[in-house]
């Protein structure tokens, strides 16, 4: 894992991606700090971060697009597979390198509240916890982007997928307001979601039988649940969608709350998508 981590981290700074990422993060932070904190004299750095969170939409795909796609295109994936390394250590090595790059601007951000506190009263606790949450949200989105990069050998496709996923998650909170809340509608949407999942399972396992079994079992359970307790389904789909919104979890931190559930949520996403990446790498050996 150490070898992969060192190589990956190095590769961000021998090319321009690492510098581009740092430059964009610091540029946006600089603009928002000068407008919100300096010009308008707000002492809250969390407010600044809240306003610039959409930056992740544009610049996280820059980092994640090449993670696995590049290896596949350059055939270095064959090297990784043939060396005595576990797939999990390849994934972790690459992921920690990504997180390290993300940590650099976040460490720079830590200077801002300290500087502000020299000129007035600043709630350092909320400021730093919001920086931490901002970092953690980025780390969760990096895990998602890395997984998407493992699905394709084209960096462009990886970037577009990653951008799409982050954008969807970004818009999810506002989209849920338009979802009909009735139990019947929820059931209908869940049926569609299960079918979509079955298609993805079919794609990942190449087994139509397995995917069909999964779909049938899931649909049956869903129907039984609906028949037994239809009231459970009221507004459930909207709740389900808002659970997918990585960005809305972050708002609690912005409001000055240390949201422990939010932390658990981000760690869950990270672990889940790292596992997916390992599966995806393993799957590639089978086809």
């Amino acid at each position: 894992m150490r070898a992969i981590y060192k190589r990956e981290l190095r590769s961000y700074f021998t090319g321009f991606t690492g510098y581009l990422f740092l430059a964009l993060m610091l540029l946006f932070a600089g603009i928002y700090v000068s407008i919100i904190n300096l010009t308008n004299a707000y002492p809250t750095f969390e407010f600044t971060l809240y306003n610039m969170d959409y930056v992740y939409l544009i610049i996280l795909p820059i980092l994640t697009m090449r993670v696995f796609a590049e290896d596949r295109r350059r055939h270095t994936s064959e090297l990784l597979y043939s060396m005595p390394l576990r797939l999990s250590s390849i994934v972790l090595g690459k992921y920690f390198a990504l997180v390290t790059v993300l940590a650099i601007p976040c460490i720079v951000f830590c200077c801002f509240p300290a500087i502000f506190s020299l000129y007035g009263t600043v709630n350092l606790m909320t400021s730093y916890s919001s920086i931490f949450a901002f970092f953690l949200m980025g780390a969760a989105l990096l895990a998602v982007g890395m997984f998407l990069s493992s699905l394709t050998e084209s960096q462009v496709v990886a970037a577009v997928l990653s951008f799409g996923a982050v954008l969807l998650s970004y818009l999810m909170a506002s989209l849920t307001a338009y979802i009909p809340a009735s139990a019947y509608h929820s059931l209908f949407y869940f049926v569609i979601v299960i079918l979509l999942c079955a298609v993805i399972i079919r794609f990942l396992t190449k087994s139509t039988f397995f995917a069909a079994c999964c779909a049938i079992v899931a649909e049956l359970l869903l129907t039984i649940l609906y028949i037994c307790k239809a009231s459970l389904f009221e507004g459930l789909f909207a709740k389900f969608l808002s659970a997918l919104s990585v960005f809305s979890r972050y708002e609690n931190f912005m409001a000055g709350l240390f949201d422990f559930a939010g932390l658990v949520y981000y760690f869950t996403i990270i672990v889940l998508f790292l596992l997916f990446s390992v599966f995806s790498l393993e799957r590639r050996r089978w086809c």
């Binding site: 070898a3 350059r74 043939s82 005595p84």
Partner: protein
């Protein structure tokens, strides 16, 4: 030692490798021969763990490549067809990365990297970016990567493809040197290369192993391929009619200048003695005689022609 048992791989409806069973013994140079699309790369990918087989298993020194991948993989070095290199690194950095991934640390890593750079003669290029290296040097870095950590077996997939004639010669010398301390398996579709380098040949076509033997044995067992070129003085008619009386021999006139005639005889066994005796009895002056035994090329063509391959397999 690499044991491959019943290895099968399908891509959709086509079978790339079909129940392949073979054993690669230590201390030999194996040539893995087959036309394009025979399943060579797929087989090598499965042996090295880059690809999982649909069925069958691969054991390296007794370790299964899927069940005990770390132990198995540390015993082989692999150079795929496209050298897997990071262009943004120098050979030295790249080899340090590979060495570290293979579990070498500190002084051990440094000496291992220095020694493989020495062995593959890339020490002069150690600080240049791999991106700027020629194809020959890139291939060398690829080999250096494979032999790093001193694996017992080195597997090279088409190591001479895309090299110029001088680089090809250098690569062959390098492979011979490697064979002194490693078991070498290399795939190729160039027959002369295999017969020049290998002491064992594995012939693969359409995912089947057609033959496994030394190049000499394969040639010797080739039926119907003792070809004799005979040059005699004078018109062809007398000589040909005399030679046609020899049993089981086909006679073809290759050229005739009036004073000298070249005749080709093909037979199942060596007929040099009977030919010279027959010509001497007829009073025809014999100017020269050359025996051509089957080359690996003939064996290969014969084996990969599906209609004859089955009989030959039994005979071998």
């Amino acid at each position: 030692m690499i044991e491959v048992q019943n290895l099968t791989k399908r891509y959709g409806a086509t079978i790339a490798v079909d129940h392949l069973t073979m054993t690669i013994e230590d201390h030999h140079i194996y040539g893995f021969l087959g036309p394009n699309g025979a399943g060579k790369t797929t087989t090598l990918h499965m042996i090295t763990g880059c690809l999982a087989a649909d069925s069958g298993n691969v054991k390296i020194d007794g370790y299964d490549i899927l069940r005990a991948p770390l132990q198995a993989k540390s015993r082989i070095g692999y150079l795929p067809e496209q050298p897997p290199l990071y262009d943004d690194m120098t050979p030295e950095e790249f080899l340090r990365f590979v060495g570290e991934a293979k579990g070498l640390r500190g002084k051990k890593l440094r000496t291992a990297v220095d020694s493989v750079m020495e062995r593959t003669s890339i020490a002069d290029m150690r600080r240049r970016l791999i991106r700027n290296l020629s194809k020959g040097y890139r291939q060398r870095v690829g080999i250096a990567q494979a032999i790093l950590g001193d694996p017992a077996t080195v597997i090279l997939d088409e190591p001479t493809v895309g090299l110029d004639p001088l680089q090809v010669t250098e690569m062959r010398t390098l492979i011979r040197e490697l064979a002194q301390s490693h078991t070498v398996v290399f795939s190729s579709h160039i027959l002369s290369e295999v017969s020049a380098l290998c002491d064992r040949v594995l012939i693969l076509a359409q995912g089947h192993l057609l033959a496994e033997d030394t190049p000499e044995h394969l040639s010797a067992h080739m039926p119907g391929l003792h070809r004799l070129i005979v040059t005699v003085r004078g018109e062809p008619d007398a000589a040909v009619s005399r030679l046609r009386q020899l049993p089981d021999t086909t006679v073809v006139i290759l050229s005739s200048t009036g004073t000298e005639t070249q005749i080709q005889l093909e037979s199942a066994s060596d007929r040099r003695e009977s030919v010279s005796a027959a010509l001497a009895a007829a009073g025809i002056p014999l100017l020269g005689m050359t025996l051509e035994t089957a080359t690996l090329e003939d064996v290969f063509l014969d084996l990969t022609r599906s209609e004859t391959s089955e009989e030959f397999k039994e005979e071998v």
